[in-house]
């Protein structure tokens, strides 16, 4: 008799066969928030109605975004002969022509396409293969392995590509202790920014015999410039759900929460549907896959608050309170959500877990660097030629990521400044571009991989103006609990405002440094403790420019020409 998982797998392969059959074409349109922002939903509607009205022999799906955001809206067509051709920057009005010529007549629009995959290349002229594009070839896709391939709302497509095999293996062949050991041995470090070894953290919770224990997945992701957590959830939610269930089993927990900020509708809908679908087939709830492990999961929404991403503030938010940090100790593993033992992981950390369990810790350990195994999921935005979301092995240099993958600066001649790892981390100048992307090397350079966001500024970027933007964000988002953070950010913003308006005093530099020291010493969480980081790193890499600004020698930035900036006036009471 087949096991519950074998039955699911049979159904999944049958479903996958319907999409990849040798009788019907499959038109896939990359979705996600970025795709939507580029109009992918309109392109999908257009292809769908064209296929429906013309009776073309094709399935049409909105799939996860592949990450090549410079090509969005992106459409690819898999023909029954197994050859797949990719089109970029597609307009809704092009659906008719592409469907008619490519699907109906079997003649891909080679001048319009940017790559192919499958087949031997004889039918695709001089098109490059997808794998030969630098934006693909330098990637090592683990957490993002299904991006561009599967419909995120279709559980069976995820299973057809190996999904939930790891959970099945964990439940049938491994003890919770063995999984914790496997995650420890893989060298997986937390991807939320703190880089703490995930297996060790899981090991803090596992021994507790409390009847109720929680595992939380943090997808607050308030960092501007970072969209990989939401990206994973909206483009392949089951890789996270599977990771969180394994996290629950390994720590013998009873409940899991996926924590997302309100308003980000695509990831919220994807997570809710994935959880419901997992319940419907017995991957969540009582006796998962026929085992004696039971586990409940739900989505918890937070209101707008950046600090809600801090682990103890996050627990306050799930409890429905103001998202302000708690004192530690007690640490979450002892007394976390509703004072029960709790373990928190970032989306990316959990998204690696299924593949680690499936392929073994040694496989994961071999990817990346000695101290940081695995990959980094980098989000490139700003003045960069090929913005997007790219999963690269740890150990690539920043310069390689910017030049080989990102295609260099989009306007002007050189990249001047990077903002890496979110607004509590540093600005980097060219001197740091040969830094290797791994947790320790980045930290030495005064930045952090943190959330994985890299915002690129070209040579026209006014560093002091960029700093003011970051500090304005931090000031706006301070939860207000600790006054050094609440007032310190306000003071720093005032000083930066003066600098941008050529009204700075020579004593301002010393003043801003004093404020920074107080914030670091007197704040409960990273928001205040790290709040001076952007300025400290700017002094390191752009000291001359800051001096010049203090001397009133720089042109004032901003649309009004007077150095002022349009900012929100709302604050937390």
């Amino acid at each position: 008799m087949p096991t519950p998982f074998e039955e699911l797998k049979t159904r999944a392969l049958k479903r996958w066969g319907e999409f990849t059959s040798d009788e019907k074409a499959w038109i896939r349109i990359g979705g996600g928030t970025s795709g939507q922002a580029a109009g992918a939903d309109l392109v999908f509607d257009s292809f769908k109605s064209t296929v429906d009205s013309s009776g073309a022999n094709a399935n049409v799906s909105m799939v996860g975004a592949m990450g090549l955001m410079y090509m969005e809206p992106q459409v690819d067509i898999l023909m029954p002969d197994g050859v797949r051709v990719f089109y970029g920057n597609v307009e809704p009005s092009e659906a008719q022509e592409i469907v008619t010529q490519h699907v109906n007549e079997g003649k891909p629009l080679l001048d319009r396409a940017f790559a192919y995959s499958g087949g031997d290349g004889t039918t695709t002229g001089s098109l490059p293969s997808l794998d030969s594009l630098p934006t693909i070839s330098f990637q090592e896709r683990i957490a993002t392995r299904n991006f561009g391939e599967t419909d995120p709302h279709d559980l069976l497509q995820y299973i057809a590509r190996g999904g939930y095999e790891a959970l099945n293996r964990a439940l049938t062949e491994m003890t919770p202790e063995e999984i914790v050991d496997e995650v420890k041995a893989s060298g997986l470090r937390g991807r939320g920014g703190a880089a703490f070894p995930a297996g060790v953290k899981w090991g803090f919770l596992a021994p507790s015999t409390a009847p109720i224990k929680y595992v939380l997945c943090n997808c607050e992701e308030g960092d501007p410039g970072a969209f990989n957590d939401k990206g994973i959830i909206e483009n392949d939610p089951h890789t996270l759900i599977e990771g969180l269930i394994i996290n629950g089993y390994a720590t013998r927990s009873t409940h899991g929460y996926v924590f997302i900020r309100t308003g980000h509708n695509l990831p919220i809908e994807a997570a809710r549907k994935a959880i419901q679908d997992a319940y419907d087939v017995g991957l969540l709830g009582k006796n998962i896959l026929g085992s004696d492990f039971s586990f409940e999961m739900e989505v918890s929404l937070t209101g707008d608050s950046y600090v809600a991403g801090e682990e103890t503030a996050l627990m306050e938010a799930i409890e429905g309170k103001r998202a302000t940090p708690r004192f530690k100790p007690p640490f979450p593993a002892a007394a976390g959500l509703w004072q029960k033992p709790t373990n928190i992981n970032n989306v990316k950390t959990l998204a690696y877990v299924p593949e680690i369990v499936r392929n073994g810790s040694g496989w994961f350990k071999d990817i990346g660097t000695e101290t940081t195994s695995g990959t980094a999921i980098v989000c490139l935005s700003g003045h960069i030629t090929y913005p997007g979301m790219y999963e690269i092995p740890m150990g690539m240099t920043i310069r390689d990521v910017l030049e080989k993958i990102g295609g260099g600066v989009s306007e002007g001649e050189r990249i001047k400044v990077l903002q890496a790892g979110g607004p509590l981390n540093g600005l980097l100048g060219e001197d740091a571009f040969d830094t290797m992307i791994d947790f320790d090397a980045m930290s030495e350079a005064g930045a952090s991989i943190g959330s994985g966001g890299i915002i690129v500024g070209n040579e026209t970027t006014n560093v002091v103006d960029l700093l003011r933007n970051l500090i304005a964000f931090n000031q706006f988002e301070s939860c207000g609990k600790c006054f050094p953070c609440r007032l310190g950010n306000t003071h720093m913003l005032e000083i930066l405002d003066r600098m941008c308006q050529n009204k700075a005093k020579s004593s301002d530099l010393a003043l801003i440094e004093r404020v920074g020291v107080s914030m670091k010493a007197g704040s409960l969480c990273g928001h205040g403790q790290l709040g001076f980081n952007p300025i400290a790193s700017a002094l390191k890499y752009f000291g001359d420019e800051i001096e010049a600004c203090l001397a009133g020698d720089l042109p004032t930035p901003g649309v009004f020409g007077d150095g002022t900036m349009i900012l929100p006036t709302r604050t937390r009471p």
């Binding site: 970025s34 501007p224 707008d304 964000f473």
Partner: protein, 164 residues
């Protein structure tokens, strides 16, 4: 308070009670309740604070402390549509300030507020999650990328039913 006000208020109370008890997820809190109310009626009237307190068994003081903390909550009815403009660093480098300025002018506002005709609420957003398509704006959470001052002006005027 006039009789008409009282009637309206009591209808609102009933509506809010229905929203609160229709919450589906297992974990129901002050925050989840306030989010549910704002999702349905787009702001938190005084009745929402009182009814949420009653529903969750907390004090109005507790509920107000939560409502006043999260910046997505608002306490007066918004315009028919909400226009979010991102001012995060990625969009900032790509010209978000010019977009904000042009939207201010198209909506006839000087800060986050409603256009004088009440049709559009302008909000500044710290990140809409589509940085690779920046500068970004969103209409009722639907994101539009690659904005210019001209395209944003057109969108803002269209929302008000005005010609650019």
């Amino acid at each position: 308070m006039t009789t008409a006000d009282t009637k309206q208020s009591s209808a609102l109370r009933v509506e809010i009670q229905q929203i609160l008890s229709a919450q589906q997820q297992p974990t129901i809190t002050i925050l989840s309740s306030l989010l549910a109310v704002q999702d349905s009626i787009h702001y938190l009237p005084e009745e929402a604070i009182k009814e949420t307190a009653r529903f969750t068994g907390e004090t109005t003081n507790e509920v107000w402390s939560v409502a006043s903390f999260y910046t997505n909550f608002r306490f007066t009815p918004p315009g028919e549509k909400t226009l979010d403009v991102c001012w995060g660093p990625s969009c900032h480098l790509l010209g978000a300030q010019s977009i904000l300025e042009s939207v201010h002018s198209a909506l006839e506002v000087t800060e986050e507020s409603e256009s004088p005709d009440g049709k559009v609420t302008l909000k500044y957003n710290t990140c809409l999650g589509a940085c690779a398509q920046g500068p970004c704006i969103a209409i009722d959470h639907r994101v539009f990328g690659k904005q210019t001052p001209q395209s944003a002006t057109k969108i803002a005027l269209d929302l008000r039913g005005l010609k650019s």
